[in-house]
């Protein structure tokens, strides 16, 4: 596994330091890292090519080395371009001038259309609409039943006519029945299909012609690989999409498909699915997606999660300590206990920039038992030892502490190593957070204009 893009760029620029001015080939070397990161994230290789060309235009000729941290600046450019390319957040559904609004859900097999249909219905109801779901997947066994069960859970009506009629006929009948039933939105769940299946693609075209939906949403699995381009291109050229829903983003995929789909269709990603529950549908955040694709960790998510769990005072105190390098072992223990509340520790760490997929993560694994050890060790230290362990702790002190805490010198050393790594990682986390918050202003920075 590669380290994150941020770390890799840091490495690249370290090599280039002292050269005074960046040549085109230096920039190319940095962009090679960006290219690798995007490809690892499953962004389609053609999309990557175009993207790199754009970035290069912006990066060449700039005195990157004059800035303190050229790696950060390249990331900044990449992050900005990526965010722009992802489009703004637009999670509106085209409404019909005269109800009902008809929404058609399309996509590959297993992408998550049925669940997303139900989630969308749920969300639309929250926004004051009266949705009707339509079971038009007559092919997959029990697909109709699945939608009916979900409708039951939501207490929303589901229109179905069994699996013997043509999907187009079912859709049409549903739309016709909607007004009479007091429904102002019709959400049609269609069967999954491969975009190379001519017969089934023609069926969708036919449905569009006949029913004239106001919104056609392509549902795409966030884990999709290079095929995302062909899928999105084909569905878009044959149906004219209005938007995209990205599903299963609650996993650990980098989600490069988002960039692929967006750049070949030009259509907005309107929603993302982040769980199996029926309220796990959220508006799309371009900047978060950009970070995720770049492997910078899902920082904003982590920040949000942290904010839910830490109180603001604690956060502020911790940040101040870190900045002034006063972060002590006692704080570390505190930290361990706090982080534990955020969820499985590996998952939390994987969200932190520079640590995702990093080997160091292995050493950082913390389990309950270790926490008990850590506490015992730290409690056996004098205040001076706690506040500056590197400087104060020598062999004999360590032996004393080991004795006092019922541990070994080895365990103490391991704890100290973890402490150092945590300090580093927390600093990185805070730096990133800071530079991100400034993100918007960077554009106006004369340096980059």
């Amino acid at each position: 596994m590669f380290a994150s893009l941020a770390e890799r760029l840091q490495e690249t620029f370290k090599k280039l330091r002292g050269k005074g001015r960046l040549t085109e080939s230096d920039v190319n070397e940095a962009l090679r890292e960006v290219r690798l990161a995007l490809l690892e994230a499953d962004v389609n290789f053609k999309v990557v090519k175009d993207f790199i060309a754009r970035i290069k235009e912006r990066a060449v000729g700039q005195e990157l080395l004059a800035s303190l941290n050229p790696a950060q600046h390249v990331i900044k450019i990449v992050h900005e371009e990526l965010t722009t390319l992802m489009g703004g957040s637009n999670s509106r559904i085209n409404l019909a001038p005269k109800p009902p609004t008809v929404v058609m859900m399309v996509g590959l097999n297993g992408a998550g259309k049925t669940t997303t249909s139900a989630k969308l219905a749920n969300l639309m109801r929250k926004q004051g609409r009266r949705p009707l779901m339509v079971a038009a997947d007559v092919y997959r066994p029990a697909a109709i039943k699945q939608l009916e069960v979900l409708g039951g859970q939501l207490n929303l009506p589901v229109f179905s006519m069994g699996d013997q009629l043509e999907p187009v006929a079912i859709g049409l009948a549903a739309v016709e029945s909607a007004a009479g039933a007091g429904r102002d939105m019709v959400i049609i769940d269609t069967a999954g299909r491969q975009e190379v299946n001519e017969e089934l693609m023609a069926e969708l075209e036919n449905m569009k012609e006949t029913i004239k939906p106001h919104e056609i949403l392509l549902v795409v699995d966030a884990m999709t690989g290079q095929a995302a381009v062909s899928v999105a291109e084909t569905f878009n050229s044959r149906l004219g999409l209005d938007g995209v829903v990205l599903t299963k983003l609650d996993g650990d995929t980098r989600g490069g498909a988002a960039l692929s789909v967006r750049s070949v269709t030009g259509k907005p990603i309107k929603f993302v699915g982040v769980g199996e529950k029926l309220d796990a549908l959220e508006p799309f955040h371009p900047e978060r997606m950009a970070e995720r694709i770049l492997g910078m960790g899902d920082m904003l998510t982590l920040i949000e999660k942290a904010q839910e769990n830490f109180n603001a005072d604690q956060m502020a105190k911790m940040q101040k300590k870190l900045r002034s390098m006063e972060f002590t072992l006692e704080d570390f223990l505190d930290q361990l206990n706090q982080v534990k509340k955020l969820g499985p520790i590996e998952q939390v760490l994987s969200m932190i920039p520079g640590l995702g997929g990093n080997k160091k993560l292995k050493d950082l694994k913390v389990d309950e038992k270790e926490l008990v050890f850590a506490e015992a060790i730290i409690k056996s230290m004098t205040p001076a030892e706690r506040s500056d362990p590197e400087r104060v702790l020598n062999g004999s002190r360590k032996r004393r502490i080991a004795k006092g805490s019922g541990t070994t010198v080895q365990e103490i050393n391991r704890l100290l190593k973890q402490f150092e790594q945590t300090k580093k990682m927390m600093k990185q986390f805070i730096d990133m957070e800071k530079s991100l918050k400034k993100g918007g202003k960077m554009l106006k920075n004369p340096f980059f204009s």
């Binding site: 491969q194 884990m223 899928v231």
Partner: protein, 336 residues
């Protein structure tokens, strides 16, 4: 026992043996074109685009140069092989070219193919069918990859070869998942053990194995709910299902089949890793190869974790399941 030894042979053998088996068991679908033919057919798209690209490449460049290697790498990346594995493959090709003093660009393809095949492994992996019955297969994977459908296909495969097959509906979570498996059971003509939606999946697994023993089934296939490999609690649930099966019968589940969607990119490697850590994957079934995806990620998976791909899914109907043979796969990918 005799039956399963035969089955073992039939699914083990890749192209020839599969074709031979289909003759003896009179499966018209298979006979018409044979495994290899169907595989080729399903990979036509893949092959066309892939091979066309390589051929274009080779014809455009006469001498072997850097651009050529770079383009080779791109083609591999585009097949979802993954950029690291692609670079490695190109590097190996480069080395072979040097060692063998090849200077004709036309030979590159054969060399690359050789290395792909080598990475995939040379043996056809068979399902772990036990002599003691029932053989227990547990099917796992992330949401929507094709677990339930593959179970339908597998049940059909074994049923049509005379095995007594039982299905366990241990996806008690997803809406109508039980109904879905039930429809497949009806289609195939096998029995199914189920509880109601929301029941403890481990309890379903337990009952299924009890029933399989009591009814002297040859094969029990347990469906599980789709879950993202990153969800610790759901992975714990899966471990529990596996444990319960193991407690009821030593060695069970004999086969833990991970279903991977060929459309998936590099995340498939994480899936294989984490499912493997949780329940010990013994084989992979790669589905949806009838789509436009190249399925190249299995090379990366094999490379990272050395788990054999055993089956491929090439469509939505009962017959659309084939044994996977690394050699055939690599060949079919490149054959004209």
């Amino acid at each position: 026992m005799g039956l399963f030894s035969r089955l073992k042979e039939s699914i083990k053998g890749g192209s020839q043996q599969a074709a031979a088996a289909s003759e003896t068991t009179q499966e018209p679908e298979l006979e018409k074109t044979g495994f290899f033919g169907r595989l080729k057919e399903s990979l036509t798209k893949t092959r066309q685009s892939f091979v066309e690209k390589i051929d274009n490449l080779v014809h455009r460049h006469k001498a072997i140069d850097e651009d050529l290697y770079e383009e080779l790498e791109e083609i591999l990346v585009q097949a979802d092989v993954g950029v690291n594995t692609a670079m490695e493959l190109v590097e190996k090709t480069r080395r072979s070219v040097k060692e063998r003093r090849v200077d004709d660009a036309g030979e590159l393809k054969a060399i690359l193919k050789e290395h792909i095949r080598e990475m995939l492994g040379t043996d056809t992996a068979s399902l772990n069918i036990t002599d003691e019955t029932p053989t227990v297969i547990m099917v796992v994977g992330v949401n929507g990859v094709g677990k339930t459908t593959t179970i339908g296909k597998l049940a059909h495969y074994y049923k049509s070869r005379g095995a007594k097959v039982l299905l366990g509906a241990a996806d008690t979570f997803r809406a109508a998942a039980i109904d879905q498996l039930e429809i497949w059971a009806e289609r195939v003509g096998v029995e199914i053990i189920k509880h109601r939606e929301g029941a403890d999946p481990a309890a379903v697994a337990f009952d299924s194995l009890q029933a399989a023993k009591a009814r002297r089934a040859d094969l029990l296939i347990v469906d599980t709910a789709g879950r993202l490999h990153t969800k610790a609690n759901l992975m714990e649930e899966l471990k529990k299902i596996s444990r319960v099966l193991g407690r009821e019968m030593a060695g069970a589940p004999h086969e833990v089949l991970l279903i991977l969607d060929a459309t998936t990119g590099q995340n498939a490697v994480n899936q294989a890793r984490l499912f493997g850590e949780a329940v010990g994957i013994t084989g992979i079934a790669l589905t949806k190869l009838d789509g436009s995806s190249k399925g190249g990620v299995i090379i990366a998976v094999k490379q990272a974790l050395d788990i054999p791909v055993k089956l491929i899914g090439i469509g939505e109907s009962l017959e659309d399941l084939r044994p996977f043979s690394p050699g055939d796969f690599a060949d079919a990918l490149f054959d004209e």
